[in-house]
């Protein structure tokens, strides 16, 4: 049976991500939900530094570019000034979990009524593929050329699990874009994270496992297979904290 699909206007401008990069999929899911809610002209997207900067050229809506790591703090300020608008921080793992770990966790801790999306592609992609706190054991990056050694650099960080322990936080989930099935699940997480803010329920965080074929040095086929077999088993997919009924 045919399922009608139309490109949302907020992603109607061609994006500047690399071929096969999963960012574009999350961009579209967010756009779909915003348009479903009728918030195209009532959303301010705060962009972190990293590949999310590419959205300056393609995200067809209001967007503020802040510094590396300060997305949650900036989105907090936006929400304080305009509580009537949807305030979203869109960041990568290096941005939100490494340099911006303090801002990310403190915004969650205070239960700021913002929605944070974090692309986790297991590396610092914009700067050319350096090791991130999310890099998998053994994964080769330009700063872990023999593969990440957890004995020296720690095991990959799981921030959503920690954020979910704060008592008041409204919604925390981790999705992935490595298959159509997971993308459809992720759409539900995106929707919950946005609805939680619109309903005044509090802070919401959705981490998204995302392929980075360019910096992983893999085809899309290999990338999604690696995500399914290696990454997703470590980074448990699903809702880590469901919305209160």
């Amino acid at each position: 049976m045919a399922v009608l699909k139309k490109t949302p206007t907020m992603v109607s401008i061609p994006n500047h991500f690399c071929p096969g990069c999963g960012h574009g999929i999350l961009n579209r899911l967010i756009a779909e939900v915003i348009e479903e809610k009728g918030y195209e002209k009532k959303t301010i997207m705060t962009l972190g530094v990293g590949c999310s900067c590419n959205m300056n050229a393609s995200w067809n809506g209001d967007k503020i570019q802040c510094a590396h790591g300060r997305g949650a703090a900036t989105a907090t300020g936006v929400k304080i000034a305009r509580p009537d608008l949807l305030s979203i921080a869109y960041q990568g793992d290096g941005d939100a979990y490494v340099i911006g770990l303090a801002e990310t966790l403190n915004a969650a801790y205070r239960n700021e009524p913002i929605t944070v999306f974090v692309i986790n592609n297991n590396n610092f992609a914009m700067t050319g593929g350096q090791m991130s706190w999310t890099t998998m054991p053994g994964q080769v990056t330009t700063t872990s050329v023999h593969g990440r050694d957890p004995a020296l650099t720690g095991m990959p960080i799981r921030v959503p699990e920690f954020a979910a322990t704060f008592p008041d936080v409204a919604y925390v989930a981790r999705g992935s874009v490595h298959s159509a099935k997971e993308i459809n699940r992720l759409r539900g997480y995106v929707k919950n994270a946005i609805e939680a803010q619109l309903n005044g329920e509090g802070y919401a965080l959705v981490e998204v496992l995302c392929q980075c074929p360019t910096n992983w040095g893999m085809s899309v086929e290999k990338s999604i297979k690696w995500m399914e077999e290696e990454v997703a088993p470590y980074y448990t997919l699903g809702e880590l904290k469901g919305r209160r009924k």
Binding site: T43, C66, R70, A73, T74, G77, V78, K79, I80, E103
Partner: protein, 349 residues
């Protein structure tokens, strides 16, 4: 009616009178009373106070809120203000207004809690990466602190540029009689701010370019220089001092004038833009200019020397009295002047 107010409480109340709707900050001595006061005062007025996790987060909260047009401010001191520099550079890069308060303490790194002016060069030169300037007011009394704060948001919004109040530890901690202006509020839309509709954000769509910065600096330099000259018109020697040292300096001028020595005082109120215009009044017969400042090795003196080069004919010597981590006493200034006059003390520039 004038009432006794502590400097840090007065600057916070003045911000409320000026229409500040949001404050974010992190505790650091000697400015913490700004946060403490606002933590209860702002909710009383239906406004937002937020104790941030660190200085950087505080400045980005202001960044986000002022991008949406909300009058917002943050405050800090010494090393805390250093941490804010990243965000201040981003404010300037995007042409966002903001109001910043630096209640200076002494020294690099942790430093001490002593009253000083050792942040002068950092704050008048931008302080972060790239080329930009912050408009910096340097009051010398609590009443003047209040009056400058009252206009700070208007000036910041006019030029789409951060405005800083450069206070000093003693000025923040001491008490003086103050009269507050009435509450005011900006109700009109600034036109460029973020409102979700993706309307044009003016200069933000075309990030800061060299020409744009030159034009902004030229306009601010032309319009915003503020100073107070005291007995300069016939002076043989002119002191230059801002903030608290300007008060002891003024006493020194009076004492020396009583002795028949013709001295005067230039007191910059804006330290950026530096008030070059104040130096027009210096007579061509001037024998020397003396920078008096609470720094260790001289900071204000660099601007004084440049101003003297530009405004005074001949090679007028520029001397420096650097009092380190305290305000120079009147008698120290008078004694220093004796050395200048006798030729014992050598010029710096």
């Amino acid at each position: 009616m004038r009432k006794m107010w502590k400097g840090n409480h007065a600057i916070a109340e003045a911000a409320m009178r000026a229409g500040c709707q949001f404050y974010a900050g992190y505790p650091i001595t000697p400015q913490t009373e700004v946060s403490e006061y606002l933590s209860y005062r702002m909710p009383e007025l239906g406004r937002r106070f937020l104790q941030a996790e660190n200085e950087m987060a505080a400045v980005y909260m202001i960044f986000g809120a002022y991008a949406c047009g909300m009058r917002s401010m943050t405050s800090s001191s010494g090393p805390g203000f250093s941490l804010k520099q990243e965000g201040i550079a981003y404010l300037c890069a995007n042409n966002y207004p903001a109001v910043l308060v630096n209640v200076q303490r002494w020294g690099p790194g942790l430093g001490t809690l002593d009253s000083s002016q050792t942040d002068y060069l950092r704050d008048t030169r931008g302080g972060g990466n790239g080329d930009y300037r912050v408009i910096v007011y340097a009051p010398n009394s609590i009443q003047e602190t209040v009056d400058l704060m009252y206009n700070a948001f208007d000036v910041a919004e006019k030029y789409r540029n951060p405005v800083e109040i450069l206070s000093e530890a003693a000025l923040g901690q001491m008490m003086e009689p103050v009269e507050f202006p009435p509450f005011k509020e900006r109700t009109e839309d600034l036109g460029w701010t973020f409102d979700g509709t993706d309307r044009p954000h003016g200069r933000i769509d075309n990030p800061q370019k060299p020409d744009a910065l030159r034009a902004k600096v030229a306009a601010i330099t032309a319009n915003e220089q503020r100073w107070e000259n005291y007995r300069v018109e016939d002076a043989d020697y002119v002191f230059v001092a801002f903030g608290l040292p300007s008060r002891t300096c003024r006493n020194a001028v009076d004492q020396l004038r009583e002795q028949g020595v013709k001295v005067g005082l230039i007191r910059p109120i804006t330290v950026w833009p530096f008030p070059y215009k104040a130096f027009e009044e210096i007579p061509d017969t001037v024998k020397g200019v003396i920078s008096v400042e609470s720094t260790d090795a001289g900071q204000l003196i660099e601007d004084v020397a440049l101003a003297v080069k530009k405004m005074c004919p001949g090679n007028v010597p520029v001397y420096g009295l650097f009092s380190g981590q305290k305000i120079p006493k009147t008698k120290e200034i008078v004694a220093f002047f004796g050395g200048v006059r006798s030729g014992e003390t050598k010029e710096v520039f």
